[in-house]
């Protein structure tokens, strides 16, 4: 059995002269939680739409669940579950009616469906009456029921397009607990997100910019690759003027010097150069060495700070 859940080679999606996705290649292993990170318009949703069979690639080869789309889109659709950010469930229908509808579209047997529904309600800890209208559910619960609908037919691969957009931090945390449990059950999860803390929880992350993958690795691998020299955190001892901060940021010793809350994060070019100027900075800041966050990586790579 092929160990790859998703295989993409030279995928391009063109709308007229505009390339939404431009020659990307990557693979996702079975049971992996794979994150797609990038700004709006980077090409994340276009890629996920191709993988779910909603868009035909302009160029390239796509295989999902070991099946090429060119041969049998319907077979691929049977293997995947999709949850979009924009639409979750029909608000004017009850939870039961929504799930019945999904089960009918998937041609599920009644007994299998009812068994699956019970398992999934246990999985998401849903304890409300089945005849609750979806519009009466909270945003977080709606997302969880929506996930249950996407998992109803027990898909091998689950595509989640910004699944936690617009829900509370507590609901986001709960949703990611569910994603981790799916990973434990050897499900492949392909998720796009804007949130760095969510991306940290993926096994591997692809960073997208202007339709291209500009980095692909585990969170730790990305951090190591992006920062070969140490990261420093600068905590100001007193108030600083805008001109002073600008002067620090332009200093030759830094790769970048960026605000991070009330503090600053900076990457230095070399240890030797840093040691020569260190005392001068320590007059104004308490300085400590830190591990870079994914946000630092994002700034470094996606925003093109490294040039």
């Amino acid at each position: 059995m092929n160990d790859l859940a998703v295989e993409v080679k030279g995928l391009s999606v063109r709308f007229g002269d505009f390339y939404a996705v431009n020659g990307i290649s990557f693979t996702v292993r079975r049971g992996e939680t794979f994150g797609f990170l990038g700004a709006n318009g980077a090409g994340k949703t276009t890629t996920i739409r191709v993988l779910c069979g909603l868009l035909r690639p302009s160029e390239g080869l796509v295989s999902v669940g070991g099946i090429s789309f060119d041969h049998n889109e319907q077979a691929v659709k049977a293997k995947v579950g999709y949850m979009s950010q924009k639409f979750t469930l029909y608000n004017d229908m009850t939870v039961e009616e929504n799930l019945n509808f999904t089960a009918s579209l998937r041609k599920m047997e009644k007994a299998t469906y009812e068994q699956r529904r019970k398992e999934l309600f246990d999985f998401i800890s849903f304890d409300k009456p089945l005849n609750t209208l979806v519009r009466d559910l909270s945003g977080g619960t709606k997302q969880q029921v929506s996930l249950a609908a996407a998992l109803l037919h027990d898909p091998e691969i689950i595509f989640l397009d910004e699944p936690t957009a617009g829900v509370t931090p507590a609901s986001r945390s709960r949703f990611w607990q569910l994603i981790r449990q799916l990973a434990k059950r050897n499900k492949t999860v392909f998720v796009t997100t804007h949130y760095m803390d969510e991306a940290e929880q993926c096994d591997r992350i692809a960073l997208m910019r202007e339709g291209r993958i500009i980095a692909l690795d585990s969170p730790e691998g990305l951090k190591t690759a992006a920062f070969s020299t140490p990261m420093l955190e600068f905590d100001p001892r007193g108030s600083l003027s805008f001109a002073e901060v600008s002067a620090f940021a332009r200093h030759d010793v830094f790769l970048f010097f960026e605000p991070y809350g009330l503090r600053f994060h900076a990457a230095i070019k070399s240890e030797d150069a840093w040691e020569t100027v260190r005392n001068g900075f320590e007059k104004n800041f308490t300085i400590k060495r830190i591990k870079p966050s994914l946000e630092d990586v994002f700034i470094q790579i996606v925003e093109g700070k490294a040039g």
Binding site: R49, V50, C52, G53, L54, L55, R56, F69, N72, E73, Q74, A75, K77, A78, V80, Y82, S84, K86, F87, Y90, D92, M93, E97, N100, F101, T102, S104, L105, R106, K107
Partner: protein, 372 residues
Amino acid sequence: MNGFVWRRAVAVARKEVYHILRDPATLGAALVLPVFMVIMFGVAIEFNVKNVALAVSDSDQSQSSRRLLDTFGSSGYFLIHHVSSPHAGITDVSAERARAALVIPPRFEQDLFAGRGAEAQVLVDGTDNSTVGPVLGYVGSIQNMASQRIGGFDPSPPYEIRTRFLFNPELNSKWFVIPGLTVVVMSILSILLTALTVAREWENGSMELLLSTPVLPLEIIVGKLAPYGILGIIAVVFVYVIARTVFGIPFVGHLWVFGFGCLLFLITYLAQGLLISVATRKQTVAMQLSMMTGYLPSQLLSGFIFPIASMPAFFQYFTMILPARWFMLIARDTFLEGSSVLELAGPFLALALICGLMVFLAARRFKRDLEP
């Protein structure tokens, strides 16, 4: 794996029924609109002009002039009030206290019996041309009747043209209007609601989610259109029953001919609604386009109220591309004349052609947009 699966189409249809039952606007349009239209056109709107206010200046005050007035009064079309002079009559017309004035000069009777030819003048308010034609028609008939009653002689020429109105002997406008209502009601329920329901799926992103499942575009089309098709048929049955029972309108044709016409028209408009929704993908735009291309033509350019023969030549040809024009002919004909399909071959052929074209265009566009 790739074939049409009825279970999925039925699931889409059942979901659509939930939406209809739980959306007050759709349910209102489906249930209230036909009732409202039948009441409005069946009871409130009257195309026959009656109770025309007539200002009468009778300067003769003779037995003959009174007989002339009696003839006007007993016709049932005029409400007479007397004024003191011809000038006062004109004043009443210009002040809109009267729609017409009848001026009987002095020596009306004298001229009549002397054989010099008596003259009376009718002045009609030309600003409201919807009443001018009928009033002139009434005056012509009343003139003949009055000649017999006043002079006791028959003024008729050596020949006589006798008019008999076929299919609607009393020229009852309800007989004319209510069968045409089937066209208007169906146009609203089929084209408008269909355009909205599919556009809604695009707008909230659920169409994409539907298509990520193995459901086929054709199953979505069938499932989404079927409830609105049934709604349209129910509305037509409703208008038919009201027409027959409440307004006593005869139905002399074959029900299956009428039903066949309904079905062709319904499919045409469902396809047009689908085409609009796929092309626009926005509910507001879909609504405006449905009104412009479906409802308004069926009301204004189908011959429902305004006769196509009276339109400028361009519009007479233009209306030929409108399905409502052809179904209007079929609906009225089957109600009042009872022609066979062969006799209605022209309208049926035109409707079938437009239907085929619309289904082809909608299916092609829908397939192109939905299939990856």
